[in-house]
């Protein structure tokens, strides 16, 4: 018996017993510091002799570039965008994540199906349908949910890159300006993430603390996952 399983029927022709690595997900809404922490975890793990693959959304060889263009032009409908993201994800799962796990890597992924589902749900997709669509995905070893309150998030985003069109849900016309729209959209996303905590076994990491504190918390949790014997 291997450690890994699919959410549903999964991909044909994959021998799960061959997957020896660990799949670790960092989830959370925009601007919570996911990429900062992956940037810290990767050298930490490598220092301890682990091979690490860092992957994230819209990076597939198949669809990544076009997906980014689609976001810029925003002419595609909600269902089309959802499926476009699913295509990008599937390509990365088959061509990056699974081969890396087979080779015994620790895969650190910046977001996973949960962000894709949350974003699609707030844009009107049916949650049940999304669960079915993503049933080919691998269940991760751990999902660390970097959680913040909306007020912290607003401050953080203002201090870094400012409000972005998509991160503010401007495509959904939710407020008079970027600020209003951002707050409403992100609150809604946070609510969707919170609903997933129990269903998918998220481990909540309080991301309102300093980067050092959050990293120390994550590091201990990641060490535990890495040390865990899978069988």
């Amino acid at each position: 018996m291997g450690r890994f399983s699919f959410f549903g029927e999964g991909l044909a022709g994959i021998d799960l017993d061959e997957l020896k690595g660990k799949l670790i997900v960092l989830e959370g809404t925009d601007g919570v510091g996911r990429s900062t922490h992956i940037g810290l975890l990767k050298p930490y793990l490598e220092h301890h002799g682990h091979a690490v693959l860092h992957t994230g959304m819209t990076r597939s060889a198949l669809a990544g570039k076009r997906l980014k263009q689609a976001k810029e032009g925003h002419t595609l409908g909600g269902i089309t965008m959802s499926l476009f993201y699913a295509t990008d994800f599937a390509d990365r799962l088959e061509n990056e994540i699974i081969p890396a796990l087979r080779a015994g890597f620790i895969v650190l992924t910046d977001r996973y199906i949960y962000s894709l589902m949350a974003r699609a749900i707030v844009r009107g997709s049916d949650p049940e349908w999304l669960r079915e669509v993503y049933s080919f995905a691998l269940k991760p070893d751990a999902i660390f949910y970097l959680r913040v309150k909306i007020d912290d998030l607003v401050t953080r985003v203002l201090q870094s890159s400012g409000f972005d069109y998509w991160e503010s849900g401007m495509d959904m016309h939710m407020g008079e300006d970027m600020y209003e729209s951002f707050v409403r959209y992100q609150k809604w996303l946070l609510a969707e993430f919170d609903k997933m905590v129990e269903n998918y076994g998220f481990e909540i990491v309080d991301a309102s603390r300093s980067v050092e504190e959050v990293f120390e918390d994550l590091r201990v949790r990641v060490d535990r996952v890495v040390a865990r014997n899978g069988y």
Partner: protein, 244 residues
């Protein structure tokens, strides 16, 4: 949110959706073209839903095929993305406007093709759960040999994915195409009952088939919007008549 997401069969739109399915060489496109002419002359607002999806999605599909980057799952997903775009831009809006929408191939093509590629039948049906249920779905039933005769010779080289070459059925592209299409036919046959497709015997004459198609379609058109174009057609034919 504009009313949330409607799943298969839950759409309540004033238009009608007529789709044709069948393997290449079944004559379905010819039948759809003849149906279109008739509907237009009857004064219906007809919209042909071509596979002209957004360039972005189209380019990914084209590139993925050309570079042979597609696996059964990504093949299925990129085509579903393409179909979603077609649904959101070229099927739902004209149906809302009360048009008779015609589609050459529909979700059943994907179900047959993807299942033959080894994708789960349940999963691919769920994947297309957002599709609009057709008013009538025709299946042009053709023996493989008849279809093969119509296609080969008449067309240029068969394409890699179209011939199912990714399935390693045969090194010979024509033989691979034959085996692949044979399996597609098996999947279509299973779907006739499952989705209530109307099977048309495509070995009969074009005229006989068209007469049956028109009879079945007209039963589904009660209450559908017509334009006044018919009067213009009539006037035009009157004009021609008076000149003779």
């Amino acid at each position: 949110m504009a009313g949330g997401m409607k799943m298969y069969g839950k759409h309540r739109l004033p238009g009608r959706l007529i789709i044709v399915e069948g393997i290449d060489g079944s004559g379905k496109s010819t039948q759809l073209m003849l149906l279109k002419k008739w509907l237009e002359s009857e004064g219906y607002v007809v919209y042909s839903s071509e596979w002209n999806s957004s360039a972005l999605v189209h380019n990914v599909t084209k590139r993925g095929k050309k570079k042979k980057m597609l696996t059964p799952i990504t093949f299925s997903l990129i085509h579903a993305t393409d179909f979603a775009d077609r649904t959101e831009h070229h099927i739902i809006p004209p149906l809302k406007a009360g048009a008779v929408v015609l589609a050459d191939r529909y979700i059943y093509t994907a179900f047959a093709r993807d299942v033959v590629r080894g994708v789960s039948a349940h999963w691919v049906r769920e994947l297309y759960g957002f599709a609009v249920k057709p008013t009538v779905g025709f299946y042009f039933r053709t023996p493989l040999d008849v279809a093969m005769k119509r296609i080969l010779g008449g067309r240029d080289a068969l394409k890699y994915y179209e011939a199912g070459m990714d399935l390693d059925l045969s090194d010979d592209i024509e033989e691979s195409f034959r085996v692949f299409q044979g399996r597609i036919i098996e999947e279509y046959e299973k779907m006739v009952d499952e989705f209530g497709l109307v099977a048309i015997d495509a070995t009969r004459s074009i005229e006989e088939q068209q007469a049956e198609v028109r009879r079945i379609v007209s039963d589904g058109l009660t209450g559908t919007k017509k334009t006044r174009i018919r009067r213009w057609v009539d006037l035009a034919s009157l004009a021609r008549g008076s000149q003779e």
